[in-house]
Amino acid sequence: MSNYDTVDSNEHPWLGRLVKVGLFLLAQGIAVLLVSFVALLVSFAPGWSAATEQASLLQPGDAKSGSLLLKDDGAYIEAIRLGIDIDITVSGPTLRTRVTQVFRNPTKDWVEATYVYPLATDGAVDTLKMVVGDRIIVGDIKERQQARAIYEQARRNGQKAALTEQERPNIFTNSVANIGPGETLLVQIEYQEPVHQSGNEYSLRVPLVVGPRYNPAPIVQSVDFRKDGSGWGATNSDPVPDRDRISPPVLDPAKNAPINPTSITVHLKAGYALAEVKSHHHNVKIESPDSTTRVVTLADGTVPADRDFELTWKPAAEKAPSVGLFREHVGDADYLLAFVTPPAAEQTAQKPLPREVAFVIDNSGSMGGTSIEQAKASLLYALGRLQPNDRFNVIRFDDTMDVLFPTSVPADTAHVGEATSFVGALQARGGTEMVPAMRAALTDKIGDTNMVRQIVFLTDGAIGNEQQLFETITAMRGRSRIFMVGIGSAPNTYLMTRASELGRGAFTHIGSVEQVEERMRGLFAKLENPAVTGLTAKFSDAKADVTPAIIPDIYRDEPLVLAAKLDKLAGSLEIKGRVGDRPWSVTLPLQNAAEGKGLSKLWARRKIGDAEVARTLHEMTPEDTDKTILALALDHQIVTRLTSLVAIDKTPSRPEGQPLKLSELPINLPAGWDFAKVFGERPQLTPTQLRERRVDAGQPAARRLAPVTPDAIRLPKTATSAELKMIAGLIMIVLALILFVFNRRQHLLTDAA
């Protein structure tokens, strides 16, 4: 071409040049047109882009303060300060925790504060105390509505009042009314909880923060969705009807210093000589007054409430005692708590049954940061443990879901390799639609009864629709067994325990990458070894009300924990079952039981748990369940979803006419979470909802329930960048040609000169 041009220009020097200049101008004109066209498109892009719009709308700074602004008088209150002190006394098999929340009001207004906080899942909250100056007011247990009414009345009268309500078995709300300007008010709650045991190790776990939950959009049935506002409120199928109550404002750790300083003290009186005592996520100082006692305090004094506190301890003896029996006499009844660790099954000569394992991994936004690393490491470890004759599948979910293989595949090198790279590539983003993933995992496609079917479910459990998940499990569990792996610094332990209970499996917690191997090894010991099955408990003389009524299978290293209410402390307790294929039994004479504390509360708490499970299993009607729970709760003075504790100061303190402002105390983001991943993408508020809220903000009195989005179906993104790329590519090629021609023209002009 170059040659041809040269020859051509030599033959008709000025004509050729003229043509080239003309062509050049033409091409330049086209290029300018194209560039301006692209510029036009690009300038439109932000307005069209769904992602950009959503991200800007969902900054909780806007959204949350919007909802805060709505409260009562419409003005945001400069922060109420909260400090927390946790004091735990472990006495043998149980522990008693006292949580003191210090509310300090540095503002010039009278304030009502609400604080949403987590507690241990199986704790029985039985005491509320409010300290005003030097007076202590002790709270009473009341039915929830009644307690609420008493509190509201006191609040209006200007009396100081405190109310403890249960939102979930592990989420509670404290409301405190009429904190005067410059005043400090103390609210104390106490709860009783059993010590956890696994193999040779005992543990306690104190959750300190409620991880922000994903609340799936409700599906509304038979509603006209026209945007005239008439469709709101006609919903009756919201999966999280109390979403407002479990979503306190969350501070962005990038923009705010950590809040809610917490101090923790543990008085550990094990009743046996102690060996190692270890705090897994906090630096602690450990003092040893004697061989059976330890006092554990935080090394740094206080820590921000942003992760679970986990303490484990081991007995000095090589093996933990395999039997523990404790009693307590309350009223006219005796209560008994029994721990029995069945012997480990002998490794039999015959090979264990091959297994079909469905691994489910949560890669939603709440898993962002360190959690997804822990989950991936755990899953990769699990994949490495599969045997060649096992079958497996991998499911990942956020608000979308992928099933790696159409059906379970043999765990050969090729398939495991494929799964490994699939897991390695996972990124944490999006919402947490857990129910479809659980459904997929529970779908028993092969139905091969020669294989044991197991589900290993890795998640932080940050959802608000726990009940939906439980119902899915009960409806579809079939012969599958569910093993939950709680990931991250503040997992939803209630979801883990209840899901594994309904799924007749076990659960474990992984709070850091360092724990992955040890905890997964423990979990695999449970998966791979035969469980203790067919367990029954029988009292020889006493009439007993035992919980759990039907004893679940016990996996390796787990103790069987029984609580019972007896009419008399006489005779013995016989426990029978099968370890692998061998019968096993143990007889415990009751007069050997040691004195324990708060056992009646633990028994009642477990009875309440049993009733909730029975309701989920449709063995009990909701009405009967409520009746049972209410009776137990009032009898034993514990907070449940139907009962609350309320404390009222008799003398009014707020002068009449002084306004009261509400402050929803913010919480930290759990440690290791990624704020943008949780709130940047999470469809908690649709634009419509937000607009509704802003409209409300203009009319302070008209606070209403957050409107719910009427649409469960989100359509995927269905445009490729192909066109854009091809156009941009073409433009660049054209520009290159123009430049080329322009350069040649310069060159030729120079030559001619």
Partner: protein
């Protein structure tokens, strides 16, 4: 020749960009050929068949509009990867032929480009991977936001929705979606 470098680099980048765009189309077209084969086999065997060994999805249905000669194979799931190869079945929706709404979504510039040509009243045939055929009639279309589709998943009717991005000729992706609603009029054949 330094003055040649900038046009050459520009041309190279342009070619790569163009090629990248063309690759999306090529992938969409080639995948459908493989999917066609996999789908025929899964109809024959009654088992889900993967179109290629490393695929993380599998064909679940064929959508045909005879009048305009359009036919495409639908995959399970609507992850980005799946949509590159074919229309996806929204997994929280029912299968075609069941009570409720079956929703299939695909890219407007590849597999569902033909939606612009589908007229109200056209017959849409859906063949499931178990070989069952269902005949739908297109009865309305709508333009909605992606998060406010107005689709009632709990409907008592037998419905089908084909969804893609709107407008068809835009170059950037947006929040609007084009929905084609159709109602079951009978089993095929």
């Amino acid at each position: 020749m330094p003055r040649l470098i900038s046009p050459l680099v520009l041309a190279l980048v342009g070619t790569i960009l163009f090629g990248d765009g063309a690759y999306i189309h090529a992938k969409a077209w080639l995948a459908q050929m493989l999917l066609e084969r996999a789908f025929d086999r899964s109809v024959a065997t009654g088992q889900p068949v993967k179109p290629w060994s490393w695929a993380d999805t599998w064909p679940v249905a064929r959508i045909e509009v005879k009048r305009i000669g359009a036919s495409t194979i639908v995959l399970e799931g609507t992850s980005g990867q799946a949509l590159a190869f074919g229309p996806g079945h929204l997994h929280q929706t029912v299968d075609a032929g069941e009570r409720g709404v079956a929703i299939y979504a695909a890219h407007r510039d590849t597999h569902f480009r033909f939606l612009r040509d589908v007229a109200i009243g056209d017959v849409i045939d859906v063949t499931r991977s178990d070989g069952k055929r269902f005949r739908y009639r297109a009865d309305s279309s709508a333009i909605v936001r992606f998060d406010a589709s107005g689709i009632d998943p709990a409907t008592q009717d037998f419905e089908l929705v084909l969804a893609t991005c709107w407008p068809f000729d835009a170059v950037t992706s947006g929040a609007e979606r084009y929905l084609l609603h159709a109602t079951l009029i009978g089993d095929g054949e």
